[in-house]
Amino acid sequence: MNSIVAIIIDGLVYSSWLFIVAVGLTLIYGVMKILNIAHGSFYAIGAYTAASLTGSWLALGYDQSTAFLIMLFSAVLVGFTLGPIIERGILKYMYQRDEIVLVLVTYALFLMLEDIIKLIWGVNPYFLYQPYGLLGSFEIVELTYPNYNLLLIGCAITIGCFLTWFLQKTRHGKILLAVIHDREIASTQGINVDRVYFLTFTLGTVLAALGGVLTAPMISVQPGIGAETIVMAFAVVVVGGLGSLPGAALAAILIGLVRSGAVHLFPDLDLFSIYLVMATVLIFKPKGLFSAQEERQI
C-alpha cells in the first residue's frame, strides 16, 4: 500500500515537471506546426538565467523568499528577448517551407545556442539550491517530500488552467484556436496570422524558459541539460497528440506514473519506459491520445 502511494506521489511530481517542460512545445506545434528542437536550449537558458540572476540577487542580501519573483522574472525576460529575436529574425522567413525543414532549422539553432550558452556562462556549474529547501517539507507514508514538489504540481495545474482559460475564453485565445484549426481559413477571416505566430512563439519560449527556471533549484545547471530534456518533452507531446493541451497533460501523467512505477518495481526498465509508452500508445492510437481529425486530401 505504501509503495502505491509513493509511486503515485513520485509519478505526479514527475508528471508535473514533464507537463511544464512540454507545454510550450505542444503550443508552438499546435499553432505553428514547428517541432521546436531549440525548445531544449530555451529551457537551458531559462535555467542559467534564473540561477545566475537569483544567485546574484540573493548575494545582495535580499530576503530569500523574493527568489521566486526573480525566477519568474527570468523566465519572462528570456522569453521576451529570445522568442522575438528568433521568430522575427529567422523563423519568419521559413513558414512556407516543409515541416521537416523547420525541424532542422530549429536543430541548427539548438546547436548554435548550445555553444552560445557556453560562451555566455562558461562551463562551470551554477547552483540555485535555496528555493528547494525554502518551503519546508511534508511527510507521508514515512517519506519526506520538500514542499517544492507541491509547488511544481501547483505550477503545472496553474499553467494548464491558465492556457485552457486563455484559449477558450479570451479573444486572443479564440483567434489562436482558429489558426490551430485552419490557418488558411483563419487568414481569410482577417486574422493576422503573422502576428499570432509571433505571439505564440514568444509565449512558447516563456513557457520553455519557465520549465528551466522551475527545474534549476533541483539540478546543477551545466552544459548539456537542454539536450536531455528535449527528448522527454517530445515524447510527451507525441504521446498526447501533437498540439493538444489536454493530450499533453494526460501523456505527462501517463509517462510520469509508468516511469515512477518502473523505478519502484522494475528499476532496470527505467531506461526505456518512456519509449515503450510512446511506442505502445502510437501503435494503438496512431496520432497520439488526443488528435484532431484530419480531412483527407483529394
Partner: protein, 446 residues
C-alpha cells in the same frame, strides 16, 4: 551568379580542409582530446584541457620541479592540438585518424569515456601511434586486448570499488544490507557489478536491497530517492558523477535520505567543493589517487601542479587535472629515458670513421618503438603519488588511492579519516581479470 559564388565557397571550404593545416616545425606535436562540450565538459573535460595547457606551458619553460625540470621533452618544445571528445565513437575514430594521418601528431593523449577508449585503441595500434588514455574507467581495455602502442597512466575503476568496500567495512563490519544508485551505462553497470562481487566476498551476510539504474543525465531522481528511502539500507553505493551526482544530492538531502543511511561515492571527488550544503557529513568519497582536495600531499610536484592550475583556471586541481599530469609526465619520463638509453648505447669512439655520423644518430630524437620500450613497466613520480605501469604487459598503470569521510564546515567540504590504500592491496596482480580476482577472494587461484 549567386550559385556560382556558393560553388566557389564550397570548393574553397573543401580545399581548406584538405590542405595541410599546420606548418611543419621541430616541435613535438601532441593531440589532446577531452570533452569540450556536453555534460562531461564542466567537471572533467575542461579542467583536463586547462591542466594540459598549464602543464605544457610550464614544461616548455623548464619550470617543472625535478625530475621533470628539463625544458620540453629532452629540450624539444611541445605543441598541443585540442579536439572535442563529444559526439560518439564513430566520429572520434574519424577524427583520430585525421589527427594522426593529416596533422602528423607525434603522440595522442586523451579520452575520458571508456567507449571512445575502446574504439580508438585498435586504431592507434594500426596506425602505430603512441596513445595515452587519460582516464576511462573500464578494465576491459587491457584485460581483453594486448596493445603495444596504447598506454593508460590511470588505474582502472576496479580499484575504487575494492578500496571503497575495504574502507567502509573497517568501521562497519556488521553491515546488514546495501542499496545502489548508478547511472545506466557501461561504467555505472560495471561499477555496480564489481561492488556486488566485492561485497559477496568481504561481507557475504550483507543483502542487496534496491538497485536503482537511472538513465545517464536523467536530471530528476524523485522516484529513485523514494525507493531508496523506503528500504533504509545501511549504505548506498553510487557511481553517479558530474551533474547527475549534484542533482541527486540536491534532491536527496532535503528528503532526509541520509539520516540513517551512509553514502559511498566512487566518483565524487571532482565535485566535492561544489557539493557543500548538499553532501551529508560522513559521506565516504575517494580521490582516486591523492588529489589536492583531499589528501595532505605536500610533495613539490603536487604544489607545482596546484599552483599552475590555479593560475590557469582559478580553480582547485581535481581528479581530471591529476589524470592529465600523469599522462604528460609519464610520456615525458619515457621520452627522456628512451633518449638517454639511446645516447648511452651509442659508442662514438668505437669507429673513428663513423664518429660524426654516430653522434648525429645518437642525438636524433628517439623513435616510437624506443619510447614504448622505455614506457613499458616504467614507474614514475607524479603529483598523484607513485605510478607504476604494472598491468597489461606494462601498459596499464597502478597506483594507490585514498578514501576519506566528508565534513562540511563554513561552506567548505573537508575530508577526515583519510586512509591510503597502496596499489597492491586494491589492484589485481598480473594475468588475472579484475572480476575473477575479486570473485576468487582476492587470490590468484582458489
Amino acid at each position: 551568379m549567386k550559385s556560382f559564388k556558393i560553388k566557389i565557397a564550397l570548393v574553397t571550404i573543401i580545399l581548406c580542409c584538405f590542405s595541410k593545416a599546420f606548418a611543419d616545425d621541430d616541435a613535438i606535436k601532441i593531440g589532446f582530446i577531452s570533452y569540450l562540450s556536453g555534460p562531461a565538459s564542466s567537471d572533467y573535460g575542461l579542467p583536463a584541457k586547462h591542466a594540459a595547457e598549464a602543464i605544457i606551458k610550464s614544461i616548455n619553460a623548464g619550470n617543472a620541479p625535478t625530475p621533470y625540470s628539463m625544458k620540453g621533452f629532452s629540450g624539444t618544445q611541445i605543441e598541443l592540438i585540442f579536439l572535442d571528445e563529444a559526439g560518439g565513437s564513430t566520429k572520434q575514430v574519424t577524427e583520430f585518424t585525421q589527427l594522426v594521418m593529416r596533422h602528423k601528431v607525434d603522440f595522442v593523449i586523451g579520452y575520458l569515456s571508456s567507449t571512445n577508449c575502446l574504439a580508438v585503441a585498435p586504431v592507434a595500434e594500426k596506425l602505430k601511434i603512441l596513445t595515452i588514455l587519460l582516464d576511462c574507467g573500464t578494465a576491459r581495455i587491457f584485460e581483453e586486448n594486448d596493445f603495444k602502442y596504447v598506454f593508460r597512466t590511470r588505474s582502472h575503476s576496479t580499484m575504487d570499488v575494492i578500496a571503497a568496500a575495504k574502507y567502509f567495512l573497517t568501521d562497519h563490519p556488521e553491515i546488514k544490507n546495501f542499496s545502489g544508485i548508478n547511472p545506466n551505462y557501461a561504467y555505472g553497470r560495471e561499477s555496480w557489478r564489481d561492488w556486488n562481487a566485492v561485497m559477496s566476498i568481504l561481507a557475504p551476510q550483507a543483502e542487496k536491497q534496491s538497485s536503482q539504474m537511472p538513465k545517464l543525465h536523467a536530471g530528476l531522481y524523485g522516484s529513485e530517492i523514494s525507493s531508496l528511502a523506503r528500504k533504509k539500507s545501511d549504505v548506498i553505493y553510487s557511481s553517479l558523477w558530474g551533474g547527475d551526482l549534484k542533482a541527486f544530492l540536491m534532491q536527496a538531502s532535503p528528503r532526509e535520505l541520509f539520516k540513517e543511511t551512509k553514502l559511498i561515492l566512487v566518483a565524487g571527488e571532482p565535485n566535492l567543493q561544489n557539493l557543500a550544503g548538499f553532501i551529508p557529513d560522513g559521506t565516504i568519497v575517494t580521490s582516486r589517487g591523492m588529489t589536492s582536495g583531499m589528501m595532505e600531499n605536500d610533495s613539490k610536484l603536487n604544489r607545482w601542479l596546484i599552483e599552475i592550475f590555479q593560475e590557469k583556471s582559478g580553480g582547485l586541481a581535481t581528479y581530471p587535472v591529476y589524470s592529465t599530469a600523469n599522462a604528460i609526465l609519464g610520456l615525458k619520463k619515457a621520452y627522456e629515458k628512451a633518449r638517454l638509453t639511446k645516447l648511452q648505447k651509442a659508442v662514438p669512439m668505437a669507429d673513428v670513421a663513423g664518429v660524426q655520423d654516430g653522434m648525429k644518430q645518437a642525438y636524433l630524437p628517439p623513435n616510437t618503438k624506443q619510447i614504448i620500450a622505455a614506457f613499458e613497466g616504467l614507474d614514475f613520480e607524479t603529483p598523484n603519488g607513485r605510478v607504476e605501469m604494472a598491468l597489461g604487459k606494462g601498459h596499464q598503470a597502478i597506483h594507490g588511492t585514498s578514501y576519506g569521510t566528508t565534513r562540511t564546515k563554513d561552506g567548505k567540504v573537508y575530508t577526515e579519516n583519510v586512509k591510503f590504500f597502496p596499489a597492491k592491496e586494491v589492484q589485481p596482480p598480473k594475468n588475472i581479470k579484475s572480476l575473477d580476482w575479486i570473485l576468487n577472494g582476492f587470490q590468484l587461484t582458489k
